[in-house]
Symmetry: C2
């Protein structure tokens, strides 16, 4: 079934208010979750809503709280999220970093004790909309093997990188450091496909391309062997120590049935404070065109990162957002 | 053969002076290149020296030049490298970013028109030695396929992330975004080994695990399929637009037989300006111990990133640096 964007947003907002959220936070969270689905990131939109409600019920997300500033020096500030909505806190800190970058050229807002930010690309897009560069990252519970072991020691720790384009079609990467995301493995299992490369270990510790086997063992591989593992570990450390918050292995030891008390970092650079728009755009278009003009593999296409957002947005605004009927029934029954 | 660190450094310095370098730059470049080999990064130490000399001969590296500041706002500055030594420029900009982070909390020095920085970990280590966090990256000539094409559109664009430890054994990741580095493929070819996962395409466009075949086609894969390609493209864009310098596709079009005119970005965060050493160290040790205590795969070990540096350093200081005889003969004959 497909449901209009406005109806989705209204419904999500209404239920959040029912579960104790002030109206403004409810509106903000509902809008972003609906927009994540609208732009094709179905794993981090409406499909995560029941989990958010459960986190509120379990006291892991505190709907009335919002992040507050703890300390600052120049363009660098530490904020405490008080377990408030991940979306509300992350938008607040992104906006604060953008504001700081206007006067300091570069800014870093590091946030501790916050909740899942859902789609990281949301905050990259905000930074790009402000005409600035974004380097944003979060940690996670330890859900990925380090290299050389089959034990979970690392989060997959998504990294968001954003560069604005004058036409609004920004270049935005939003990737975790596992070879395949849990969402991608689930989709392949559903469609009965093998992964083209090994994505994890089976129960006997052998490398496997079978998504069902990997999802069962939960032993997912970092991408690029030790390389992805190294970057994931360092991003975790940088966000944790720059916020004086939890690293992934500390998050993993906290009580509660789901993820909470993450650390997140929002770095914003303001190049147009020091140079002109024309040169800036010429550089970006050179790189974008190099990719767009490449010859695709037979039957495929070549994209720049973030390119598909616009297509999904246009289609889903026109036709409504595709929603799983069971998921929607559960939400409406709240 | 093995040669003492001091002898290597003296020889490299002496030849650089002969090729037109002022004594101080020569000493700095010689020390870093010798240290890269000393710490086990043989691909980016002595083995690259003849290529550096050739770049000086060809006018691609200008041994008398050094980077100068172009513009600045708060913690953010743009510098122009004037094609000077990559090592001299990168050390200058790292130190400048560290200095700026003392007063601004966070700093970003973006450098354009510079030369190859050799081992990125050098600059991560400098930042960690100053007790700060480093996020440093460079672009490259387009040497990697974008996802969905077999054409080179992207650089492998190394990223360096550094976190200090109180005991001096810092956690430092220094990785490019190809599935395997050219150095690793060359080593596997030499040893007659296949790669455990596909690392590129063969001449007919099929995925291949054979390092000889991949090195012949030069069609190396990004790690994590589209993920590594996305990050590589964005890092390239961020460094190019924040320095108003060249992106990878612009570097690829420049004249000359080798790489030059890169963009590089040095971001430094100063957490100890806002928090205490004890809490900082507790977070870092928690993450490090989570990895070190993991059960290794049979016959293997589990490391944190950068851990092997110290072992190589100790061994090579005692026994001398392993040097290829042909390479050393060529250098001595300069």
């Amino acid at each position: 079934m497909r449901i209009p964007f406005e109806e989705v947003t209204e419904t999500l907002k209404e239920k959040l208010i029912k579960y104790g959220s002030p109206e403004d936070y409810a509106g903000q969270v509902a809008y972003v979750m609906a927009e994540n689905s609208l732009e094709g990131v179905y794993t981090h939109g409406i499909n995560r809503y029941m989990r958010l409600i459960n986190n509120i019920r379990d006291g892991l997300t505190m709907p009335k709280e919002i992040a507050g500033k703890i300390a600052g020096l120049g363009g660098y500030e530490i904020w405490d999220g008080k377990l408030g909505f991940g979306i509300v806190n992350a938008q607040l800190c992104t906006n604060r970093a953008i504001e700081l970058a206007r006067t300091h050229g570069i800014a870093c807002v590091s946030l501790r004790n916050t909740s899942h930010w859902l789609r990281g690309g949301t905050y990259g897009k905000m930074t790009a909309e402000a005409g600035m560069l974004g380097i944003h990252f979060t940690n996670a519970r330890t859900n990925m093997c380090a290299w050389g072991t089959q034990q979970h020691c690392l989060g997959n720790n998504p990294l968001v990188l954003a560069v604005p384009r004058a036409n609004g079609d920004h270049v935005i990467a939003d990737t975790s450091f596992s070879q395949y995301s849990y969402g991608k493995l689930q989709l392949a299992r559903l469609e009965g496909r093998m992964m083209p490369q090994p994505g994890g270990y089976d129960e006997n510790g052998q490398l496997s391309c079978d998504p069902a086997v990997i999802l069962k063992s939960q032993k997912i591989l970092p991408m690029g062997e030790h390389k992805g593992a190294s970057i994931a570990m360092l991003l975790d450390l940088i966000t944790a120590v720059s916020s004086f918050g939890n690293c992934a292995s500390m998050v993993a030891k906290l009580p509660g049935n789901d993820e909470h008390s993450f650390s997140q970092t929002f770095i914003v650079i303001n190049p147009l404070a020091l140079g002109d728009q024309e040169t800036f755009s010429a550089i970006v278009e050179n790189a974008v065109n190099c990719v767009l003009n490449a010859k695709p593999l037979p039957g495929g296409t070549v994209h720049y990162p973030g390119q598909s957002m616009k297509r999904y947005r246009t289609e889903n605004l026109e036709q409504g957002i595709p929603v799983n009927e069971g998921v929607w029934t559960d939400i409406c029954a709240l």
